[in-house]
């Protein structure tokens, strides 16, 4: 009996420990996670955790001094470039290891390895899109370039040096929650992060939907509703700029044909309103006579922050700015002489080609009047707790057939004609994008800037520039395929060589402008040029023109500007869209026929300052009204069951409203009456007010824009409690301060050039990726307030500053 009791008790104890050590589904191993010895409590950082430190690391060539300021921004001083990038890798990993790990897993289709089969579709998508294939090609470009290769290798060694120093209790909390261990960093991970950026910024396509549109409505309607140049525009390169080059011959349009319907492909559509702002004013407009540059890239905001602030200094460079955690160099920043920034171009660098295979084996495909061999690439997707999944992806000379769908074809139709689409995507090309940042970090003048951006491939960016020699410039840079007009607007016939990309627009002929007469350069994802530019870049750029227009209006009026003037402009919430349409829309309302609630909303709108500030009720009513108007105009025609169609964009809808009120498009085909613009405007208004009254009661504080717009910065893994929580904020997607839900400025920077450069900036979050750190979100309030921190740009390692809080010395 005693033996039985003893055995029972020991067994229960061992089973209990086993249970506490084991992960069940999404629940972390409770004992492993909660115990204070190695569990999450160990990730709680004290407020005085950053005392001076000395660390001995293998792989360094000399000593490195890293000084941390009050926001925990590291200022790295190294005796050579190798050690500088090594230290960059080391400190970035120390702050952001899990973010780096999960993002490279996402990019390379390896999430399921740690998260199980629920991410299998995401993994399969990334594999089939050729993300790893693209990263491998990028590595070829990187390996050809000794300087960049050395930087990537040293950065990798620095990360691994940190990883190897960790014991289980030191792992970032997310590893403990998801119950896996960090693995060694590889150089290709740096390239994978660039591919992820390409996917975010140049990985969408409207080709399918638009091809469906073409079948559904015919060419005449499509040309009318989906024009190649917007109704309202204020291009990046000022209208009327002359092109002082002789363009290459433009390829002849092919006899293209429409592809088979491929509705279930899950490539996202291009998002309107994803975008960013940058501008630089010339010395003629600034108070101190030197240029000032501003940049705020808009992305889907997350904790940990997307960017990592850092200062990098060695005998060859001293530069400050933000880097991508997982890639060496600084992407947006400044040095003593120059400053630079980026916004997305939105060029059409992703095209789909219909492929005809010879037979079901899909070993050969038809191209240039003959059968050509396809390549097959086998993707092995490891799945936690299950057998690996094998996925074969067919590659034509265009790229991967992301999706082949004989199983989708119903009723036996076309079963012998396997149809899929091959993807031609710039992100698959060999490239050396890091060279751009390597050179910009060391740049001294305009010529260095031009040389640097020549190396950039994708995702194409509007590189803005200002320097202490008082030059300003902007260049949409990246490799742009040489195309005939509208090539890639619809799905292309992959068998016709005339549909291939016919080389590249020469770098020297990319749109660019230096020191324009108007005294400033700017971009906000609108069209790169007016219609005189000889080459085709895309039929629709990333964003409608409103933000760009507002920036240009304000900069035109600006005199004696300071860094603070530009900071204020970054927070501007005035809506050009409302300015364009509000009066016309109000004009259709007859106040005598409105209900009491509607009349109240009407008079608020009459007095509204057209700003999307947090306290504005007018903004709420207008936004809802416009959304209703837009949907009521198009829904009955473009929302067709089982067919994905592309809606006409905001710009085209504005044109319709302002110039064609009797258009047939306003008629709701589901009612017997024939509606015109005024009818739709009135119904949309009534619905908007009814909805607000119904949901929030008669007009009250809850109608304010900041309370209606749900603003929140969520954790990268969507972990509840690890994000910012909901907060009240102004801003909107079509205004300069483009905070909109969980999208917004992921970094705000203003740089005053001059004899002594002065930078200002803020992250929506903080430097640390640890939710248990004071520096996880210490800058959020400053960001919310629209303020910037003065950036501490040290000139030498021992420079005295009250803002330096601790020093980390790395020795070999």
């Amino acid at each position: 009996m005693k033996i039985f009791k003893a055995i029972l008790s020991v067994t229960i104890t061992i089973a209990l420990i086993w249970l506490l050590q084991t992960k069940f589904g999404d629940i972390p191993p409770v004992g492993k996670f909660l115990n204070p010895v190695s569990g999450f409590w160990q990730n709680a950082e004290g407020n005085n955790a950053f005392a001076d430190e000395n660390l001995k690391l293998t792989g360094l060539q000399g000593n490195v001094v890293i000084r941390y300021d009050e926001h925990r921004v590291p200022h790295i001083f190294a005796e050579n470039d190798h050690d500088m990038y090594y230290a960059q890798g080391y400190v970035t990993a120390r702050d952001r290891l899990w973010e780096m790990d999960i993002q490279t897993r996402e990019a390379s289709g390896r999430l399921s390895e740690v998260l199980g089969d629920k991410t299998l579709d995401v993994d399969r998508y990334h594999r089939r899109m050729g993300m790893v294939y693209g990263a491998e090609n990028a590595m070829r470009g990187i390996n050809k370039d000794p300087q960049v290769k050395a930087a990537v290798d040293a950065y990798t060694d620095g990360i691994n040096s940190y990883i190897h120093s960790l014991s289980r209790k030191d792992y970032p909390i997310e590893f403990k929650l998801l119950d896996y261990a960090p693995e060694d960093w590889k150089p290709i991970n740096c390239a994978l992060l660039l591919k992820l950026m390409s996917e975010t910024l140049a990985g969408g396509s409207d080709q399918f939907a638009l091809t469906n549109n073409l079948k559904h409505f015919g060419a005449k309607v499509i040309n009318d509703l989906f024009p190649d140049y917007p109704y309202n525009e204020d291009p990046i390169i000022p209208e009327g700029t002359k092109w002082n080059f002789k363009p290459l011959p433009i390829p002849k349009p092919s006899a293209s044909f429409l592809a088979q319907m491929t509705d279930s492909i899950t490539t996202p559509g291009k998002k309107e309103d994803i975008g960013s702002n940058n501008w630089a004013i010339a010395g003629s407009k600034s108070a101190n006579g030197y240029p000032i540059l501003a940049n705020d890239p808009h992305l889907h905001l997350t904790y940990p922050s997307i960017w990592y602030q850092i200062q990098l200094s060695s005998p060859t460079v001293n530069t400050y700015g933000v880097s991508l955690p997982g890639a060496p160099c600084i992407v947006i920043g400044f040095n003593q002489k120059i400053s630079w920034g980026v916004t997305n171009v939105g060029a059409d660098v992703l095209d789909w080609y219909q492929v005809r295979f010879k037979d079901a084996s899909k070993n050969q495909y038809w191209y240039n009047n003959q059968w050509n061999n396809a390549k097959k690439r086998i993707e092995v997707i490891k799945v936690r707790g299950e057998m690996p999944v094998y996925d074969t992806v067919i590659y034509t000379h265009h790229g991967p057939v992301v999706y082949d769908s004989p199983t989708q074809q119903s009723g036996g139709v076309g079963e012998n004609v396997p149809v899929g689409n091959a993807l031609r995507w710039i992100a698959h090309d060999e490239s050396d994008d890091f060279m751009t940042f390597y050179l910009l970090n060391r740049g001294k003048n305009y010529d260095d800037y031009r040389e640097a951006i020549k190396h950039f491939t994708a995702p194409a960016q509007n590189f803005i520039f200002a320097d202490a020699d008082k030059d300003i410039a902007i260049t949409p840079a990246g490799k742009f395929p040489l195309k005939f007009k509208d090539q890639g607007k619809f799905i292309l016939d992959g068998s016709d060589p005339a549909n291939d990309w016919q080389g590249w627009i020469p770098f020297e002929q990319n749109p660019t402008i230096k020191n324009p007469e108007r005294g400033f350069v700017s971009s906000a994802n609108q069209s790169s040029t007016d219609q005189t530019y000889p080459y085709y870049i895309t039929w629709k750029f990333d964003s409608p023109y409103e933000r760009g227009k507002r920036i240009n209006d304000r900069l035109t009026a600006m005199k004696n500007a300071t860094a603070d003037s530009l900071r204020l402009l970054q927070g501007d919430t005035y809506s050009i869209h409302a300015q364009n349409v509000l009066d016309a829309m109000l004009g259709y309302l007859d106040p005598t026929k409105l209900s009491a609630d509607q009349l109240q909303a009407y008079s608020v709108l009459k007095k509204w300052n057209k700003r999307f500030d947090a306290g504005e009720i007018g903004a709420t009513v207008f936004q809802l009204w416009w959304n209703n108007f837009y949907r009521m105009t198009w829904d009955d025609k473009f929302s067709v069951k089982n067919t994905r169609l592309l809606y006409p964009n905001r710009d085209r809808t504005v044109k319709l409203l302002l110039t064609d009120p009797k258009s047939k498009w306003f008629d709701n085909t589901q009612t017997p009456a024939v509606e015109t613009c005024g009818d739709i405007v009135n119904i949309a208004f009534a619905h908007a007010v009814d909805k607000l009254v119904k949901e929030k009661g008669k007009m009250n504080i809850n109608w304010q824009w900041g309370r209606v717009m749900h603003t929140e910065i969520a954790n990268l893994a969507q972990l509840p409690g690890f994000g910012s929580g909901n907060f009240i904020s102004g801003g909107a997607s079509g205004v300069i301060n483009a905070i909109s839900g969980s999208n917004g400025p992921s970094w705000r920077m203003v740089v005053q050039l001059g004899p002594v450069v002065k930078g200002y900036g803020v992250l929506p979050g903080g430097e640390s990726g640890n939710p248990g750190s004071f520096y996880y979100d210490d800058m959020l309030q400053t960001w919310k307030d629209g303020q910037l921190n003065e950036l501490l740009f040290l000139q030498y390692p021992t420079e005295v500053s009250k803002r330096i809080k601790s020093t980390l010395i790395l020795t070999k």
Partner: protein, 113 residues
């Protein structure tokens, strides 16, 4: 006595040993100096409960409980104190069961001896 031995060793061991070492400490300590089953369980429970609570607070107080608060939201608990108590309870149960096992095993050998 048993209580203090387990408490001190668990805290001291936490800096070098894995978390489940608390079970082994309680087990061996109970073999050495436990008298009754009840005394062993409650000494083990109380000692590891308090040791873990102290260890957790040692990290969490300088942190202003920022992380514990975030974790409480993650598990939909009202506040960080719940996370602390659950942590301590888990430790306590493991420590108690291990100590109980220790004394029961000891009794098997006592009979034979």
């Amino acid at each position: 006595m048993l209580f203090f031995i387990i408490l001190v060793l668990t805290i001291a061991g936490s800096f070098i040993l894995p978390w489940s070492a608390a079970a082994i400490i309680a087990f061996i300590a109970a073999i050495c100096c436990a008298k009754t089953s009840g005394q062993a369980f409650w000494s083990g429970f109380g000692a590891v409960f308090i040791a873990w609570m102290m260890l957790a607070l040692f990290k969490s107080i300088p942190n202003n409980h920022i992380l514990a608060t975030r974790v409480s939201r993650l598990f939909h608990l009202p506040n960080w104190a719940f996370v602390l108590v659950i942590t301590a309870l888990i430790g306590g149960i493991v420590g108690g069961m291990a100590a109980l096992s220790g004394v029961l095993v000891k009794k098997v050998f006592e009979k034979q001896g």
